[in-house]
Subunit: 287 residues, 2 copies
């Protein structure tokens, strides 16, 4: 049986087809995200070569995942103007005429890492991605956590670093964690991309300080067994020990988190957690 | 059938017996929390008059609720020295010789409000209490949320009010939400109890500012349908409209929370949510 997976990212789309097992990818393509119509045309072109029986979609957000809502499956307040209010799920259903399952990119990635990667065996598994934006998803006992709608963890409040004049770039909140620590925030604060700042230790100290605070906030609410940190910004591997150390400082011995090296870890699915996770959505009742 | 409920608070214990229905309380007592032994003696004295078949306990925290842990059912890092490491569940089991069910005071209160009070019908229901300390619990689809252990939402990070010189009173984190907005924090900041500060609007502006931030942080992680705010400090009813207004400001239109007046509400169980919730724990597999 062939299944399809779509990682619908704000920067790029990844489409893949797997045979029997989501990890057994037999064909894959990636292209930049354009306007909705042209992007969905490319999706269609790719999949028409394959006879797939169902498709899972891991989308950037925010997207309405409240089944009771009239706009279920549509984009909400995204800064990507052309995608705002776009009825993604309905359009994909029209396009495919096979079952379509939708959730967020981070929720799907979390599911994949939980099943096959760094989250294996963790009853409560949190996945955080720090890319252009910042988001997180939770899987508990194999199920994706969802309240009235999908979580929006990128927008938690944190406290400012005493030596950071930047006021944040979230269009809604300024200095929420996405506004202070996303890839875009780094670019706006320093006028350079993260990859060009590799040698500047101060940049990564401040970045780790903020990410540790976000993890502290998620931790005390959710008490996860595993916190997986991925996304483009985490290609700076030196961030991991810094984040662990700031997190330990924030926690200050209050809760016994076990080994912080085992708690806060890198993903293991080589940037395929999104598209594999998309396929893992298939058959789930949630969406 | 008679059942017992114990609200084991840091300040006082409430014990009750109900007939058939947890809300049908036929006897109730309340006494100040002393040392563990003397307190449990009082508990014993009260219940020996009744033939109860099971007892539920809603305890102050932190208490170890990880069933895989060697210290399951014992207190953890509490500032109440005599209770630290005290094996509450084991002691109660010895005392009673009937099934004992344990969870936190806020989780139990959340359950009671969800079943009979302000949270009725809310698939994702958050209950926050602001008393001497500050804590919160979540009930989702009728089940208490628990990660590796019970949540510790009192310790989320928030940002400081620009006009607040107080550095917080959490022994572990200083300025976490409990350190800044609990009843104890109010007392330490102003040298007076909340009830003596009723006329000072500035106090309640700052209090609402902090509580709105905590709610923002819980909201983006959990996306609750209902946020119930209780505890002694919320006896200042003017806090509700202030908190709603600061919360709306923090959210700044990013997520559609519906009517904020219906989202952020007072409890409805007249300070009995703890002990009713304790009885509602009976029969749950979690503890
Ligand atoms: N080696 C690196 N060091 C620091 N930042 C990086 C690195 N590689 C990519 N980034 C940043 O990560 C972000 C892109 O994240 P990514 O997860 O790849 O994609 P997206 O979030 O757009 O889907 C950009 O802001 C980019 O500058
Ligand atoms: N009317 C009031 N206004 C402001 N604060 C109050 C009021 N009544 C009680 N409090 C505060 O609430 C706290 C006690 O909270 P409560 O929930 O009753 O008990 P506890 O948390 O000790 O179990 C104290 O800090 C007290 O000063
Ligand atoms: Zn934001
Ligand atoms: Zn604290």
């Amino acid at each position: 049986m062939r299944i399809g997976g779509i990682e619908a990212g704000g920067t790029k789309f990844v489409c893949a087809v797997s045979e029997n097992d989501s990890q057994n990818i037999i064909d894959k393509v990636s292209f930049p995200t354009g306007d909705p119509e042209e992007t969905l045309d490319e999706v269609k072109d790719f999949f028409k070569k394959h006879q797939i029986e169902a498709v899972g979609v891991a989308s950037f957000g925010p997207v309405d995942l409240n089944k009771k809502s009239k706009t279920y499956g549509s984009f909400l307040n995204t800064p990507k103007e052309k995608w705002k209010d776009y009825p993604l799920l309905d359009q994909l259903k029209t396009l495919f005429d096979i079952p379509v399952f939708l959730d967020t990119d981070v929720n799907a990635a979390c599911l994949a890492e939980y099943k096959y990667g760094a989250g294996k065996g963790a009853d409560t598994c949190l996945y955080i991605t720090v890319g252009t934006g910042l988001g997180a998803g939770l899987v508990q006992n194999g199920e994706i956590y969802q309240g009235k709608n999908h979580s929006e963890m990128g927008h938690v409040i944190i406290k400012k670093h005493h030596d950071d004049p930047f006021n944040g770039c979230c269009p809604y909140h300024g200095s929420c964690i996405e506004g202070m620590a996303s890839g875009l925030a780094i670019e706006k604060r320093y006028g350079k991309k993260g990859i060009e700042l590799t040698e500047n230790n101060r940049v990564w100290e401040i970045e780790a300080y903020y990410l540790a605070q976000a993890i502290m906030n998620y931790y005390v609410v959710l008490i996860p067994e595993k916190v997986i940190l991925g996304g483009g910004v985490l290609k700076q591997e030196k961030l991991y020990p810094l984040i662990r150390s700031y997190f330990t400082k924030e926690m200050n011995g209050y809760l016994d988190v076990g080994s912080v090296d085992e708690l806060i870890v890198a993903p293991e699915l080589n940037d395929e957690q999104g598209v594999i996770g998309a396929m893992e959505l298939i058959g789930r009742s949630l969406s």
